[in-house]
């Protein structure tokens, strides 16, 4: 079997790619996609620890399912927000929608 540490490293790499995307992309939808990558990295971790920790207890899988739910809810509301912003501001570039900066 593949050691647990490999999975954790893959997950860490995926997380950091997502982090880079969140920090560096201009488009809000692209940032949301990067967030999805980070959530996936978390899920890989959860499932890997479930498998190598205590597979008889289903905690890891239940957590992963809840993460799926949160990811879907977040995508739905987030994208709806971007659509609403686009409708009024005509852009979804994050530098141009910083209205709250005063």
């Amino acid at each position: 079997m593949i050691p647990l540490s490999w999975y954790v490293l893959v997950s860490a790499a995926l997380f950091c790619i997502g982090l880079f995307g969140v920090l560096a992309r201009r488009n809000a939808v692209a940032i949301l996609m990067a967030v999805e990558l980070m959530l996936n990295a978390v899920n890989v971790n959860l499932v890997a620890f479930w498998r190598y920790g205590e597979p008889q207890a289903m905690a890891g899988q239940v957590f992963a399912l809840i993460v799926f739910t949160v990811a879907a809810a977040e995508a739905a509301v987030g994208l709806a927000l971007f659509i609403a912003i686009y409708r009024s501001r005509d852009t979804v570039a994050v530098e141009e929608i910083d209205l709250m900066k005063g």
Binding site: M1, I2, P3, L4, S5, W6, Y7, V8, L9, V10, A12, A13, L14, F15, C16, I17, G18, L19, F20, L23, A24, R25, R26, N27, V29, M33, A34, E36, L37, N40, N43, V47, R51, E54, P55, M58, A59, Q61, V62, A64, L65, I66, F68, T69, V70, A71, A73, E74, A75, A76, V77, L79, A80, L81, F82, I83, A84, Y86, T91, V92
Partner: protein, 170 residues
């Protein structure tokens, strides 16, 4: 053999991820996201979580990716144009991501051996989906998250419908 498959899925997940954050064309980035998520689904299969692998494909590729592509189509204007998809602080973002990864590596290698072979893990339950169902609906285990998930979905839908609906004058 298992290693080859593992490396294949890892490459899919990571290369897809890199494409997601670097592609300027957003629909292509979304396709790369699908590739990456598919690689992650493969990792779930390797971890003997077939149910989650199928759910990954169903939810992410079948639903969320399509939702994202629809949203990209609805917010068109940003996608074309000559400007890069990255903002001015991308250098700092890269540095922080790399530093973060280095930290992760340090911690992981400290905590768990990287060495191959002689790895053992307890067996998974014979029918892990059934076990999952029992755990989810057990009064003493996860029934509260289960019900809260539905409330979360309800509120997400209410919120998103309110936000995204066009105001009809007349």
């Amino acid at each position: 053999m298992t290693y080859a498959v593992f490396i294949l899925f890892t490459l899919m997940a990571l290369c897809g991820g890199v494409l997601v954050v670097t592609q300027r064309n957003l629909v292509r980035a979304a396709t790369a996201l699908v590739l990456s998520l598919f690689g992650v689904a493969g990792l779930y299969v390797l971890l003997e979580a077939g149910f989650l692998a199928a759910v990954q494909v169903l939810v992410y590729i079948g639903a969320i990716a399509i939702l994202i592509i629809f949203a990209i189509m609805l917010t068109r204007r940003m996608v074309q144009g000559d400007e890069s998809g990255l903002n001015r602080q991308w250098g700092w973002a890269l540095v922080s991501a790399v530093v973060m990864f280095a930290l992760f590596c340090y911690v992981v290698v400290k905590a768990w051996p990287l060495a191959l072979g002689a790895v053992s893990a307890p067996a998974v339950p014979a029918d892990s989906t059934e076990a999952l169902g029992l755990a989810l609906l057990d009064w003493e285990q996860y029934v509260l998250p289960f019900e809260i998930a539905s409330v979360l979905l309800l509120s997400a839908m209410v919120g998103a419908v309110v936000i995204a609906r066009e105001k009809h004058d007349s």
